[in-house]
């Protein structure tokens, strides 16, 4: 039981996919314009991660080693398709906001990375908690980045204006602002890690 909790919590800070493993930066850069988008992307990726980690860990003994990556991709693509169709059906606004980045979860390196590095070597329960932890860590990272970007870029968070008479620097709404924020946060994470040691 204790080890399962550990599998879950490691994805949140110690092996945070965005800030420590530095995986999945492409969707992070692209969708972190607003907190709503960030949460949507995080939840979608978490669902795919959970599904693919569980299935991969279940079928790991039947997959020939040489073609394991294509097999993982097929599994991941299935879950991405489910996500995409659900989004289109129940939340067209979010679907339009996330655009191409929902189908692109297929090639999100976090998902394939966890299948390759963890799920294909561990049992179902550990894989489930690993996927969940990584998903939550990814979502948290997205929320932090998108909250900073949305606030600085538009003066709002989740659509609520926080400070009046604030002239937001537009740069944070643009890709260059995403790179700036992620770079600074990565540096901060490394600084904290160094201080701890």
């Amino acid at each position: 039981m204790k080890s399962l909790v550990k599998e879950f919590t490691k994805g949140i800070i110690r092996e945070n996919p965005t800030f420590v493993l530095v995986l999945g930066l492409c969707p992070t850069l692209a969708v972190s314009v607003s907190v709503a988008n960030g949460i949507g992307m995080g939840v979608a990726a978490t669902f795919v991660l959970l599904g693919s980690s569980m299935i991969v860990s279940l079928v790991k003994n039947f997959i020939p080693d040489k073609i394991r990556i294509p097999c993982f991709i097929v599994v991941i693509a299935t879950f991405v398709t489910i996500t995409e169709l659900c989004l289109k059906a129940y939340s067209p606004v979010l679907d339009r906001a996330l655009g191409i980045y929902v189908p692109l979860i297929v090639v999100n390196c976090i998902v394939l990375g966890r299948a390759e590095a963890f799920a294909c070597k561990n049992n179902l329960a550990s894989s489930f908690f690993d996927g969940l932890g990584m998903g939550v860590g990814f979502t948290l990272a997205l929320v932090i980045i998108s909250a900073i970007r949305e606030f600085l870029g538009t003066g709002q968070v989740l659509g609520h204006t926080l400070i009046k008479r604030f002239e937001p620097p537009f740069v944070f709404g643009m890709p260059s602002g995403a790179l700036l924020v992620i770079g600074l946060l990565l540096g901060l994470f490394n600084l904290i890690k160094d201080r701890k040691r």
Partner: protein, 311 residues
């Protein structure tokens, strides 16, 4: 006594030059352009410059105190960053704009990389580009010379918008009687400052000359209606080309080390500036050109490394 004994390998030639001496000379060489900016755009230009310098210096001081690093405020490099940033701003901007720009210049452009000598980009240009992307409204509203409130487009912006250009005499461009940023308009004052740096031997001819010549040549060939009809003198005298070529493209840290590399750097800056001016979205391309070539500097250095004698 212990401090006075310097043990080092030969040759033992003593020079009074030091980083801070060079930096403060650059500050002095920027003063003529600053005075010209104040004469042309009024006292606002001075307040903006002081705000930028004050913010840059105090940012460096606070950062170094907080990080427990050696205090390097007195070497003058923060002052230069502040001045250059202010020189790249229109005279009508609110005073918080240079302050934020200077903080971004120092923190993102320099201190986070490890301070002077470690930065990969010219800090002042990092700040300017940040402000340009953040508050384009303020950054592209220029005031007319010799009167306060009237907005006026820069000659390059007017050209970009396709307006029929009332012909500005070259002399007016040369002395700075047109809209523009605080420190870029008066070519005469900039050249006086550049002459100081040349005489002292602090900058070499390679970057400024190749930069200006390439821009002029490219503009002459492609800048007009049809080939070889461009107004090359107009393009050399307008915008931030002179300021950029002499004071920002010659930054010691973020530019190539060898003469050959510096020529490549200057030509690259010139081509990029001209390309942005002719086909780009912005009317002016000097800051982006220099930043892009800053990014290319490590590669230029690698391929133009001097051969070790005998190898």
């Amino acid at each position: 006594m212990k401090d006075k004994l310097i043990v080092s390998g030969s040759p033992h030639i003593y020079t009074r030059e030091s980083v801070s001496r060079i930096m403060w000379t650059v500050v002095v060489s920027l003063i003529p352009a600053g005075i010209a900016g104040v004469i042309i755009f009024g006292w606002d230009a001075l307040w903006i410059t002081l705000a930028a310098v004050g913010a840059a210096v105090s940012t460096e001081l606070i950062f170094e105190l907080a990080a427990g690093k050696k205090i390097t405020v007195l070497d003058g490099s923060a002052v230069i960053t502040g001045i250059l940033l202010a020189f790249n701003l229109p005279a009508g901007v609110p005073l918080w704009l240079p302050v934020i720009g200077a903080v971004v210049s120092m923190v993102v452009g320099k201190l986070l990389f490890g301070g002077l000598g470690q930065n990969i980009f010219n800090p002042a240009l990092v700040g300017r580009v940040f402000l340009m992307a953040s508050w384009p409204k303020y950054m592209t509203t220029f005031t007319r010379p010799f009167c306060d409130t009237v907005a006026s487009a820069t000659p390059l912006a007017a050209l970009k918008e396709g307006k029929v250009l009332e012909h500005i005499p070259y002399w007016d461009l040369f002395i700075g009687n047109h809209g523009g940023c605080i420190g870029e308009v008066c070519i005469l004052a900039l050249l006086i400052g550049a002459a100081i740096l040349f005489i002292k031997g602090y900058i070499s001819w390679q970057i400024p000359v190749t930069y200006i010549v390439t821009t002029g040549l490219f503009m002459y060939v492609f800048g007009g209606n049809g080939f070889f009809k461009g107004d090359w003198l107009f393009h050399i005298l307008s915008g931030g080309l002179i300021l950029g070529a002499f004071f920002m493209a010659t930054d010691y840290v973020a530019t190539p080390l060898t003469a050959k590399g510096q020529i490549i750097f200057g030509v690259g800056c010139g081509v990029l500036t001209a390309v942005i001016r002719i086909w780009g979205g912005y009317p002016e391309g000097v800051s982006y050109a220099i930043l892009m070539m800053n990014a290319a500097t490590p590669f230029i250095d690698r391929y133009t490394k001097n051969r070790i004698y005998g190898s």
